[in-house]
C-alpha cells in the first residue's frame, strides 16, 4: 500500500504544480477549462516522473542480490516519508473543503493562513520528508533514489515552465 499512497500523493501534488504553473498567465475571467487542463497536464507530467522513479527502482531491484530486503528498506523509507507528506496534504485538502464555503472572508483567510504559507514551505516539506524517510534505512541506493524523487518533486514546475517557454504547452 505504501507505493500506492506515494503514487497518489505524487499525482495530487503534480496536478497542483500544473495549476500553479498555469496561474497568472491567463487574464480571462472564466478560466475553468484552462485550469482543468492545467491540473490534468500537471498530473500527467507527474506520471512521467513516477514512471522514471518506478523504472529505476525496478532496475535496481532486479539487479539486487536480495530484492526482498531492498524492497523492505524502500518501503520503510516510503512509510516515513508519508508521515511528513500526509499531514501536509490533509491540511491542504481540509482547507479546500473550507474554501468551498462561498464567503469572501473565509476564502481569503484560507489563502492568507494556509495556501500562501504552505506554498512557501513546500520545498522544505519535500526535503524534510525525504531526510526523515532516508534516515529509516540509509544506504547508497535509498539515498540515491530519494535524491531523485526530491529533484523530480521540486523540478516539475520548472519542467512545465520550460515546456511552456518552448511553446509546447499553452
Amino acid at each position: 500500500m505504501i507505493p500506492v499512497f506515494l503514487w497518489l500523493l505524487a499525482t495530487i501534488d503534480s496536478a497542483f504544480i500544473g495549476y500553479r504553473e498555469a496561474a497568472g498567465r491567463n487574464a480571462l475571467i472564466d478560466k475553468r477549462a484552462y485550469y482543468r487542463h492545467a491540473l490534468i497536464r500537471g498530473a500527467l507530467v507527474g506520471q512521467v516522473a513516477v514512471l522514471i522513479v518506478g523504472v529505476i527502482t525496478a532496475i535496481v531491484l532486479v539487479n539486487s542480490d536480495d530484492a526482498g530486503a531492498l524492497f523492505s528498506k524502500l518501503e520503510a523509507v516510503g512509510a516515513r516519508m508519508l508521515t511528513v507528506y500526509v499531514p501536509y496534504a490533509v491540511i491542504l485538502l481540509i482547507t479546500f473543503l473550507i474554501r468551498a464555503v462561498p464567503s469572501v472572508d473565509i476564502r481569503s483567510i484560507t489563502s492568507t493562513v494556509i495556501f500562501g504559507p504552505f506554498t512557501l514551505i513546500r520545498p522544505v516539506v519535500v526535503l524534510a520528508g525525504a531526510v526523515w524517510g532516508v534516515v529509516a534505512a540509509p544506504s547508497a541506493i535509498t539515498i540515491a533514489l530519494t535524491v531523485l524523487i526530491v529533484c523530480l518533486m521540486l523540478g516539475l514546475g520548472g519542467a512545465l515552465s520550460w515546456l511552456r517557454s518552448r511553446g509546447l504547452i499553452s
Binding site: G24, R25, A27, L28, V104, R107, S108, G116, P117, L120
Partner: protein, 311 residues
C-alpha cells in the same frame, strides 16, 4: 526578491517607468538613466537591477517592452485578486450602494467608472457576474493604451458588456455615478491624494468606493510572502510588496477624504475581520452623498460589524 523590499520607500517601479501628460494624456518618453538615478538615490538596488534589464532606445525606455512587462504584471496581479475574491468583495460593497441610489431615485443608467483600471479585471469580473443589474454601465479608464487594449481584447473574447477608454476619469462625456478603484490610492501622496479626492465632488457623482491595501504591521511581510510565491515578474514582485509598505493608514485616508470631499459621508470599511482585531488584505474608502447614506447603511445590515468600520 529579497525580504529587504519591505523596508523600501519611494515610488514603485511602475510609477517611474511611464509618464503621461495629464492634459493631453499623451505618453511622454522616460529616460532610463533618470529612473536609475532616482532609485540609486533611494538606495533601492533591487529596483535598479530590474530597471537595468529593461530595453531602451537612444536612452529612452522602450515603450513596447515596458507595456509588455506591465501587461504581464497585471495578469499576475489578477491571479492574486482572484485568489482573494476581489471581484466578489467589490460587488458585495457596490450592491448596497447601488440599491441605495436606486431607492433615492438616481437616473438610469448608473455609470460605474473604475479609475486606473489597468487590464480591467474588476470591471470585467463585474460584467461577467452580471450581479449589479441591467441598469448599470461599467467602464474602465486608464492612461495606458496598451493596458486598455488588453482589457478590451479580453472583454471581447468573453463577450462582456463593459467598455474601456483612455481618458481622465473626471472628464468623461458621460460622467460617473460611482467611482471605484483598486490599489490606486497609495500611488497618490499628500496634495496629489487630496486633489484626486477633490475631483469626486461633481454633481453627477453619488458615491465612490476605493479599495487599497489595509495598512498594518503584518501587511508588508504578508505581501512579501504572497508575491514571493505567486508572482514571476520581478517588477510585479517588487511593486506588490512596496504597495503594502506604502499603503495609507485608514485614519489618515479618512481625514484627507473628509477635508477634500466634504460633500460625501465617508468611512473606511474592512478594518478588521469578524469583529476581531485581525487586519484584512484590503480596506475600502467609501464615500456617499448624505441623501443616500441611511439607505446604504440599512442595506449593509450586519455586514458593517463584520467588516469593521472607521468613521
Amino acid at each position: 526578491m529579497s525580504l529587504s523590499t519591505i523596508t523600501r520607500h519611494g515610488p514603485e517601479i511602475s510609477d517611474a517607468i511611464v509618464s503621461f501628460d495629464p492634459i493631453t494624456l499623451q505618453r511622454k518618453p522616460v529616460k532610463k538613466a533618470d529612473v536609475l538615478v532616482q532609485f540609486k538615490e533611494l538606495r533601492n538596488h533591487e529596483a535598479v537591477r530590474i530597471v537595468e534589464q529593461m530595453p531602451e532606445q537612444d536612452g529612452v525606455l522602450d515603450p513596447a517592452a515596458v507595456d509588455k512587462i506591465l501587461i504581464t504584471s497585471h495578469c499576475e496581479m489578477q491571479r492574486m485578486s482572484e485568489e482573494f475574491q476581489h471581484g466578489k468583495r467589490v460587488a458585495e460593497l457596490l450592491k448596497p450602494i447601488l440599491n441605495a441610489l436606486r431607492d433615492g431615485g438616481v437616473k438610469n443608467p448608473i455609470r460605474i467608472v473604475d479609475i486606473g483600471c489597468g487590464t480591467g479585471f474588476v470591471i470585467r469580473w463585474l460584467a461577467a457576474s452580471g450581479s449589479l443589474g441591467d441598469d448599470v454601465k461599467l467602464m474602465g479608464v486608464d492612461f495606458n493604451v496598451a493596458l486598455l487594449n488588453e482589457a478590451q481584447r479580453l472583454a471581447t473574447i468573453e463577450n462582456l458588456r463593459c467598455k474601456f477608454e483612455v481618458a481622465n476619469a473626471f472628464r468623461l462625456d458621460e460622467p460617473a455615478t460611482v467611482f471605484i478603484s483598486t490599489g490606486i490610492l497609495h500611488h497618490f501622496r499628500d496634495e496629489d491624494l487630496s486633489y484626486l479626492l477633490q475631483q469626486h465632488c461633481r454633481a453627477e457623482t453619488c458615491a465612490f468606493v476605493h479599495f487599497d491595501f489595509h495598512s498594518s504591521p503584518m501587511a508588508p511581510l504578508g505581501s512579501w510572502l504572497f508575491h514571493a510565491v505567486r508572482m514571476r515578474e520581478p517588477l510585479a514582485k517588487h511593486d506588490g510588496v512596496l504597495s503594502a509598505v506604502r499603503a495609507h493608514k485608514s485614519r489618515y485616508l479618512l481625514d484627507v477624504t473628509r477635508r477634500a470631499a466634504p460633500e460625501f459621508v465617508s468611512a473606511i470599511y474592512g478594518t478588521r475581520l469578524w469583529r476581531m482585531p485581525i487586519p484584512r488584505v484590503f480596506h475600502s474608502l467609501v464615500g456617499i452623498r448624505p441623501k443616500y447614506h441611511e439607505a446604504f447603511l440599512r442595506n449593509m445590515g450586519t455586514r458593517i460589524a463584520s467588516l469593521g468600520k472607521i468613521e
